[in-house]
């Protein structure tokens, strides 16, 4: 197990290095931040002076080496726009996004698993058809559409939730549903198909023959055996929630890293974009690791040695 973790750790570092490098190059290829920092009528000398101040006149590979050296100390540099350390700017926003992603995940899983299991219980029943229709909608509808529809219905007409912003628990509900909708749909669909597979297995027939209650068969014997694919898709969705947060945060004026990332890309604020992408990548790596560790726990046949 320890060796497994060590190997994974090394691989994760390589992934993080690769992602950081890609972002470094892409950001620098795509535009110049100095233009956005100065007034329209700034002279060429002004531009050169500021470019020098920011160290952007150094050759690209020198900038890259400096970037790597700082990265090792988790120093992403200073935001040229907000003029604060980039890492702390991102970390400041992280709780909002994590709160939203966690709520969305809990919402998605809490609904997806029962829906998936019950739909598989009676395939092609009214419940199954309805659930899968909704799931198809959840996967197909764009996030901003779902968000705006929720605002119009549950907030404006029904007057249950606030329209936007962060604050009380009520503020969290609509963004969490919006962000969680896609994950809910994919987890529910996968749970259903995995269950359908398992229900046909011999050991389920044996359990039935033993006269176990339907509830016990469904949840203890069938459901547990769908865990591997379901946990996998849950891991993928949990990672994707962070990326999906960009649109949800914009629709609901949620002050998280998604909006920060968008604004920083527009501003060509290299340091903040790099820190955001880095933290997102760390998040993905950690989830992957957690999923792998869970496999061993869920299915004793899987051994990491």
């Amino acid at each position: 197990m320890r060796q497994f973790l060590l190997r994974r750790l090394v691989r994760s570092l390589v992934v993080l290095w690769g992602i950081s490098t890609i972002v470094f190059v892409v950001m620098r290829l795509s535009g110049d931040p100095v233009t956005l920092l100065l007034p329209q009528d700034a002279t060429k000398a002004d531009v050169e002076r500021v470019t020098h101040q920011l160290g952007l006149d150094k050759p690209l590979w020198t900038q890259y080496l400096i970037f790597l050296a700082n990265l090792a100390r988790l120093d992403f540099g200073t935001s040229i726009h907000l003029r604060q350390p980039a890492f702390s700017i991102v970390v400041e926003r992280l709780p909002a996004t994590l709160e939203l992603a966690a709520a969305a995940f809990v919402f998605a899983v809490a609904f997806a698993l029962p829906i998936g299991v019950l739909a598989a219980r009676r395939p092609n029943s009214v419940f199954d058809n309805l659930a899968m229709l909704l799931a198809a909608f959840g996967q197909a509808a764009p996030t901003f559409f779902v968000g705006i529809m929720l605002i119009l219905t549950l907030s404006l007409w029904a007057d249950i939730f606030p329209t936007s912003g962060r604050g009380r628990f009520a503020h969290l509900v609509l963004p969490a549903i919006t962000l969680g909708a896609y994950a809910l749909a994919s987890i529910a669909r996968l749970t259903r198909s995995a269950m359908l597979e398992v229900i046909r297995k011999d050991y389920i027939r044996t359990a039935r023959a033993k006269g176990l209650s339907e509830r016990l068969i469904l949840w203890r014997h069938a459901f547990r055996n769908t865990a591997i694919p379901v946990v996998t898709i849950m891991g993928i969705q949990l990672g994707a929630l962070l990326g999906g947060a960009v649109v949800t945060e914009t629709v609901f004026s949620w002050p998280g890293i998604g909006r920060l990332a968008i604004q920083s890309i527009y501003n060509r604020d290299y340091a903040v974009v790099q820190a955001t992408v880095f933290l997102t990548a760390v998040w993905f790596v950690l989830i992957n690791l957690a999923v792998d560790v869970l496999y061993g726990w869920l299915d004793p046949r899987i051994r990491y040695s």
């Binding site: 795509s30 726009h81 604060q84 936007s164 009520a170």
Partner: protein, 507 residues
């Protein structure tokens, strides 16, 4: 089993519905807090760097200027109580006595000299308002409450220039003590509102400055909330979570006006949405008749009616309504496909490609207008093509003057004078200097340093005729800037997009 499922789903759904979210609609009784929903978060609060429209919504209330504009756009005393011209090149300002910054620091001539000094051309290049006082040679402190502004050439517009962001007054001692970064995060001014907190992308909160020299304002607290998505912004207003929202999409104007609680208010923007052109590109972009053809081919009436739901005015030239040089007797810019085709034939246009570069929403309806205009051009036989670019690419092209042909620009008439718009952006060496017509330069330059109003008017009229012949900007629309407001508020927006808290009253 079936009942179990139904039971559980029902319970969870019920729990969701019963969540306590008591967001009652804003009631005027005892209302002490005003919430303004804006299109985005402020970027900066240092008033000499914070020049975008969202920033000034906040900073213009924290800080004062020496001179300010009233709701009628006329100049009024602010931190200066009176001013006069001592001679052609010297303006004298008497300062208001007894004014203190929010931290208690006294307001005096030294701090004025320091503040305006930041904006002079010799200042830090990152100061966005550095182009405000190009003619100013020096600022002299005469006594504690008197300053002289000495210019290199006569500048009739010094008081006007002082009335926008370049003229903002900041506290010298505080700024020097905390430095630029801290000042940007915790700004201190003399204005009607004091800074309380700024939680990025969430809100900026200000509270009433009880000692403000301008009197009492109607609210104890003012919160600015960024709500980037227009539908969410409108919903927040309808639900009473916001009292005023900015950037109301034209499509929502009618809808709001039908509501019993809220309404739309609008004012023609002090500025124009124009098609800027790169005259330095080869034929046909260097040809004035081609520019005339481009202008003739645009059906502006249709754009105003369909894309803007009537929330706009067809311009009659490059001086927008509200600019004193605007001539109401000129007809709106002409639309004639036949004349456009005839001009194209006359100059021997043979389908050379013309590229329009547009972002998605640098301002309202930009992309939609770009698509419409390109279609209109294609109808008269111009081989026009639309390319979508990104904001920072646009900024870079703007700086390098490397646009491929045509792009949308939104010049703002900061001084309500041709000097503050067309000369500021298209004069020699300025951001959009793509064409020099010596005769136009001469008329404009004379007008801007003349202290004779009649001569200025005559020059600007003559310059305008030349302008319409070349059309380095092809004006498309003077949009009406719309806002959503609760009906219990009495407020009219200003054409220069500056939101001033003293304008907002409870009915």
């Amino acid at each position: 089993m079936k009942t179990f499922a139904r039971h559980h789903l029902w319970l969870v759904a019920l729990a969701l519905l019963l969540l306590p979210a008591l967001c009652a609609a804003g009631a005027p009784a005892g209302k002490t807090e005003l919430v303004v929903g804006t299109g985005g978060d402020v970027q900066r609060l240092d008033p000499h760097i914070a020049t975008n429209v969202i920033d000034i919504t906040v900073t213009f209330n924290i800080f004062d200027k020496l001179v300010q504009r009233g709701q009628d756009s006329k100049l009024q005393p602010a931190l200066a109580t009176e001013w006069k011209r001592l001679n052609d090149n010297t303006w004298q300002f008497k300062l208001r006595r007894g004014v203190k910054f929010h931290n208690g620091e006294p307001f005096n001539a030294e701090t004025v000299k320091f503040s305006l000094g930041r904006t002079l051309p010799t200042g830090d290049p990152k100061i966005m308002t550095r182009g405000t006082f190009l003619a100013v040679d020096r600022i002299d402190v005469v006594d504690e409450y008197t300053i002289n502004i000495v210019t290199k050439v006569p500048d009739p517009l010094i008081p006007d220039r002082l009335a926008f962001h370049g003229g903002t007054i900041i506290p010298k001692q505080y700024f020097e003590k905390v430095g630029a970064e801290q000042f940007n995060l915790k700004p201190v001014g003399t204005g009607p509102l004091k800074f309380v907190e700024w939680v990025k992308d969430d809100h900026v909160t200000l509270e009433a400055n009880k000692e403000w020299w301008g009197g009492k304002i109607a609210f104890e607290r003012v919160t600015f909330r960024p709500i980037p998505e227009a539908a969410a912004r409108v919903s927040a207003l309808l639900k009473g979570e916001a009292d005023i929202i900015t950037r109301l999409p034209p499509d929502d104007v009618d809808r709001l006006n039908k509501s019993p609680n809220v309404m739309a208010v609008g004012v023609p923007l002090a500025g124009l949405y124009v098609l800027a052109t790169n005259y330095k590109r080869p034929f046909p972009m260097d040809n004035k008749y081609f520019h005339q053809a481009l202008s003739l081919a645009i059906d502006r009436q249709t754009i105003v009616k369909n894309l803007w739901r009537g929330q706009g005015v067809v311009p009659n030239g490059v001086y927008p309504k509200g600019n004193w040089a605007h001539d109401p007797n000129l007809p709106p810019l002409e639309y004639s496909k036949e004349k456009a085709k005839a001009l194209l034939k006359q100059i021997g246009y043979k389908g050379e490609e013309v590229i329009m570069e547009s972002t998605i929403g640098f301002f309202a309806n930009e992309r939609q207008m770009s698509e419409a205009v390109v279609e209109m051009w294609r109808e008269v036989g111009i081989n026009a093509k639309l390319e979508i670019i990104e904001f920072s690419v646009r900024a870079q092209k703007n700086r390098e003057r490397s646009f491929k042909g045509i792009w949308f620009s939104d010049p703002i008439d900061t001084l309500l004078d041709p000097d503050g718009m067309v000369w500021r952006l298209q004069g020699p060496g300025t951001a959009q200097d793509y064409l020099r017509v010596p005769e136009w330069d001469k008329l404009m330059d004379e007008a801007r340093i003349s202290l004779n109003h009649a001569k200025r008017k005559a020059n600007y009229d003559a310059a305008h005729k030349i302008y319409l012949e070349y059309l380095p900007w092809i004006p498309v629309i003077q949009p009406i800037e719309s806002y959503g407001v609760q009906r219990f508020l009495d407020w009219k927006p200003r054409p220069t997009q500056d939101f001033m808290i003293q304008d907002v009253k409870l009915r």
